[in-house]
C-alpha cells in the first residue's frame, strides 16, 4: 500500500472510534505510508478541537468536506490548525490514483 485515505463520518463526541482511527492513521504514517483522513458528514465536527492534533503532528493530512461544513454551519475559522477544506473530488481522485480507501 502506498497511500491510505480514511473517510471518517462519525463525530468523536458520539463515538470512541474516531480516536482509534486517528491513532491508526498516525501509525500508518510512521510506517511510511502517506495517509489522509477525510472528514465527512458528522465527522466534520472533528475538525474543531484537538482530537486530530497528534495525528497531524505525525504527518497525517486531514481534510474536511466543504459540503459537510456548510450543512452544519461550521465556520472555517473554527478549524484546527493543519486541517484543510476540500471537496468530494478529493476522494474520487485518490480512488482513481489507486489509494486504499476505508470508509468509517
Amino acid at each position: 500500500m502506498r497511500e491510505l485515505l480514511i473517510i471518517e463520518t462519525r463525530d468523536a463526541g458520539d463515538h470512541k472510534d474516531p480516536e482509534r482511527v486517528a491513532a491508526l492513521a498516525a501509525g500508518m504514517r510512521r510506517a511510511g505510508i502517506t495517509t489522509t483522513i477525510f472528514l465527512a458528514e458528522n465527522g466534520a465536527f472533528n475538525s474543531r478541537g484537538n482530537g486530530l492534533a497528534a495525528a497531524i503532528s505525525e504527518g497525517v493530512q486531514v481534510a474536511v468536506d466543504r459540503f459537510a461544513l456548510d450543512e452544519r454551519a461550521i465556520d472555517q475559522s473554527q478549524l484546527t490548525t493543519g486541517i484543510s477544506v476540500a471537496d468530494i473530488e478529493l476522494v474520487v481522485d485518490r480512488l482513481a490514483d489507486g489509494a486504499c480507501v476505508m470508509w468509517r
Binding site: T9, A40, V92, L95, A96, V101
Partner: protein, 138 residues
C-alpha cells in the same frame, strides 16, 4: 482532469431516506461521472430501493408546505439524473441491483437503466476496476 478511462466501482448497502451515507456516496458517484470515469455501482440489501420507481415526494403538514414547496428529494431522481449526465458526458454509469435483495423487498420496479444482477457481477466489476469503494451500513 484525471484520466477519463479510469473505472471505479462503488458498493452501496444503505436503504434510501435513512443515512447520510447515501447522499455522500451519490455525491462521489456524481463527481466520478463529471471526471469522465466509467462508474459501476453494485447495490445490495436496502440500497436496491435507491432507484425504486415508485418513490413519491410528499408535503410537510407540520410546516404547512405542499409537495412543491417541500421539494422532497428522491434518490431515484438523483440516480436518473446521473445516468443522463453520464450519457451526456460520454461517461458511463452501470448500476446493478442484487437480484436476491430485490426479490426480498419487492423492489423489482426500478427506473430505466438499472440492471438486475448477482454477487458475481460485483466480483467482475471489482476485478475490472481501478479501484473499489465499499460503503458499509452505519
Amino acid at each position: 482532469m484525471k484520466n477519463a478511462k479510469k473505472v471505479l466501482t462503488f458498493v452501496l448497502m444503505d436503504a434510501p431516506f435513512e443515512s447520510s451515507r447515501t447522499a455522500t456516496a451519490l455525491r462521489m458517484i456524481d463527481a466520478s461521472i463529471r471526471r469522465g470515469f466509467t462508474v459501476n455501482v453494485f447495490a445490495y440489501e436496502g440500497a436496491v430501493l435507491l432507484p425504486f420507481k415508485h418513490q413519491q415526494a410528499h408535503g410537510n403538514l407540520v410546516h404547512g408546505r405542499d409537495v412543491e414547496e417541500e421539494d422532497h428529494p428522491l434518490p431515484r431522481e438523483w440516480i436518473h439524473g446521473m445516468i443522463a449526465l453520464a450519457k451526456k458526458r460520454g461517461a458511463s454509469l452501470h448500476w446493478v441491483n442484487c437480484g436476491l435483495c430485490v426479490d426480498e423487498r419487492g423492489a423489482g420496479d426500478a427506473i430505466d437503466g438499472v440492471e438486475r444482477g448477482t454477487p458475481a457481477d460485483l466480483w467482475k466489476m471489482a476485478s475490472e476496476s481501478d479501484n473499489t469503494l465499499v460503503v458499509p451500513t452505519a
